[in-house]
């Protein structure tokens, strides 16, 4: 039966957090092209309205708000694929990293992410077979300039999800991370000059948001059932081999 289906997307419902960001928006676009019913979460109502045509539902919600998230998750329908691409980049030199900034980044990128997934699992909202994809960053694997809190939060979440991958091994839910290097998104524009941005290091040029979305589709295919606990590094061959 699955012989013909292995190149099709798993299930039909996808929940995407941080859908208003550059990467999130592209994932919504690509997934809607393959007939997925999408629930898009984000903060800005105006930006969510732009996504209305492509989504089954959009919801303005702050992922850091514990009680709001708890109530929201209790009332949603079951989903098949979960894509976590919310987060703040927070590139700042070390001498400007105070405790409040550190808290903010860790809270956004690490604690809220894990809390959200745990809420979903607690109320049994992820179907089997299911897919969880976390959008991490190459800075979680290598030192990049001025990314101390960001790297800590992304690396923390990434390894946490490897633990989760192991927990969910026999439940037919795969957990993977995608680690892009320098991608052209609005988040990057303000941060050029801070991290992995020497374009000459990139044999295939800078990445596009589409590349991240396509990697998400790949991990959500029926045939990717045996890929779990993986970090897929997207860098065009630039970063990891230096």
């Amino acid at each position: 039966m699955f012989k013909n289906e292995i190149l099709k997307l798993n299930g039909e419902k996808t929940l995407i957090t941080g859908a208003t960001g550059g990467i999130g928006k592209e994932i919504v676009k690509v997934f809607s092209r393959y007939n997925q019913k999408i629930t898009a979460l984000g903060r800005s109502i105006e930006k969510l309205n732009e996504l209305n045509d492509m989504c089954l539902e959009t919801k303005s919600i702050d992922i850091n708000n514990e009680s709001e998230i708890k109530n929201y998750v209790k009332n949603i329908e079951k989903i098949d694929n979960l894509i976590l691409c919310h987060g703040i980049i927070g590139a700042r030199p070390m001498r400007m990293v105070g405790k409040s900034f550190l808290n903010e980044v860790i809270q956004n990128n690490l604690i809220s992410t894990i809390d959200f997934v745990s809420n979903l699992l607690r109320s049994n909202k992820i179907n089997k077979p299911g897919r969880i994809i976390f959008i991490s960053s190459v800075s979680a694997h290598m030192g990049a300039n001025n990314t101390v809190p960001y790297a800590a939060s992304k690396a923390g979440a990434e390894i946490a999800f490897k633990g989760l991958a192991r927990d969910l091994l026999k439940k037919d839910i795969t957990v993977n991370s995608i680690c892009p290097a320098a991608i052209d998104t609005p988040l990057w524009e303000g941060n050029i000059g801070n991290a992995v941005n020497n374009i000459e290091d990139y044999p295939l040029g800078l990445g596009e948001v589409e590349d991240v979305a396509n990697a998400c589709v790949f991990l959500c295919l029926n045939g990717s059932k045996f890929i779990t606990g993986e970090s897929i590094i997207l860098d065009g061959g630039a970063v990891k081999i230096n």
């Binding site: 190149l7 092209r33 393959y34 091994l169 026999k170 044999p203 295939l204 396509n214 790949f218 081999i241």
Partner: protein, 241 residues
């Protein structure tokens, strides 16, 4: 809408196409409408394959240089190569000898690399091509008695990363490695699978997915990487990157 529609009419060479993983890759590529060049040693197996799919058959042993040269002379320039041919023989450390190590090194690393070299010399690989090697145990957790196999397969990871430096800047080629755990094929029929962590031996049908993805331009920014489809069995070990 088909996610892999760009693979239509692409010329893909599959080395080790007649059985197991290679056969699955051919079957999926055939469905997507690629032009397949199926290369294998066994004539009968190739014939059986051609009954199922539409492919150009190339009978060749990649360990024999003369045959590789003649294939490289005849073939049209191609857009992608999957190296899937492999050979494993379990060998306790006491039996490590030149004559027992060499066959596994030849098939698993020396032949694929010299094959690639021959194709590059003859300019038979198009720019932006995707080259995929098949490794094993990308998370460095090797089964016992697999010294020659493990070292040869790990060598492919280094080779792909070095090739990125040579050919990605100039010719925009991509080199990646796919690695598996135990897959239901003829090759592991005689191996004992005995591991508590293992979810199940992966059915061979699923193994085609990473190849198809890496061959297609959907993965155009993935280069020099390893994709491990091992059902998380080797999760606890650090990945070799």
């Amino acid at each position: 809408m088909n996610f892999f529609d760009d693979l239509k009419n692409k010329k893909i060479l599959v080395v080790g196409a007649s059985q197991g993983i290679g056969k699955q890759v051919c079957i999926q590529l055939n469905k997507l409408g690629s032009k397949i060049y199926a290369l294998a040693r066994n004539k009968q197996n190739l014939k059986n394959l051609s009954e199922q799919i539409d492919a150009k058959l190339l009978e060749c042993d990649i360990n024999i240089e003369k045959q590789v040269v003649s294939i490289a002379n005849e073939i049209d320039p191609i857009d992608g190569i999957c190296f899937i041919a492999g050979f494993v023989k379990l060998l306790p450390p006491k039996f490590l000898m030149k004559k027992t190590i060499e066959p596994q090194f030849t098939t698993n690393i020396i032949s694929p690399l010299s094959f690639l070299g021959e194709f590059l010399r003859k300019k038979k690989i198009n720019d932006k091509a995707s080259i995929i090697f098949t490794s094993a145990a990308a998370r460095m957790n090797h089964p016992p008695c697999s010294v020659p196999y493990a070292s040869a397969k790990m060598g492919l990871i280094g080779a792909s990363k070095a090739l990125v430096k040579d050919l990605s800047f100039s010719n925009k080629m991509r080199f990646n490695v796919v690695s598996f755990d135990y897959v239901e094929t003829e090759m592991i029929k005689n191996m004992k699978v005995n591991d508590k962590d293992i979810v199940s031996v992966s059915p061979v049908e699923h193994t085609a997915t990473p190849y198809i993805f890496l061959l297609s331009s959907r993965s155009k920014w993935i280069n020099g990487q390893i994709i491990a489809a091992d059902a998380g069995r080797m999760l606890s070990k650090t990945r070799y990157v």
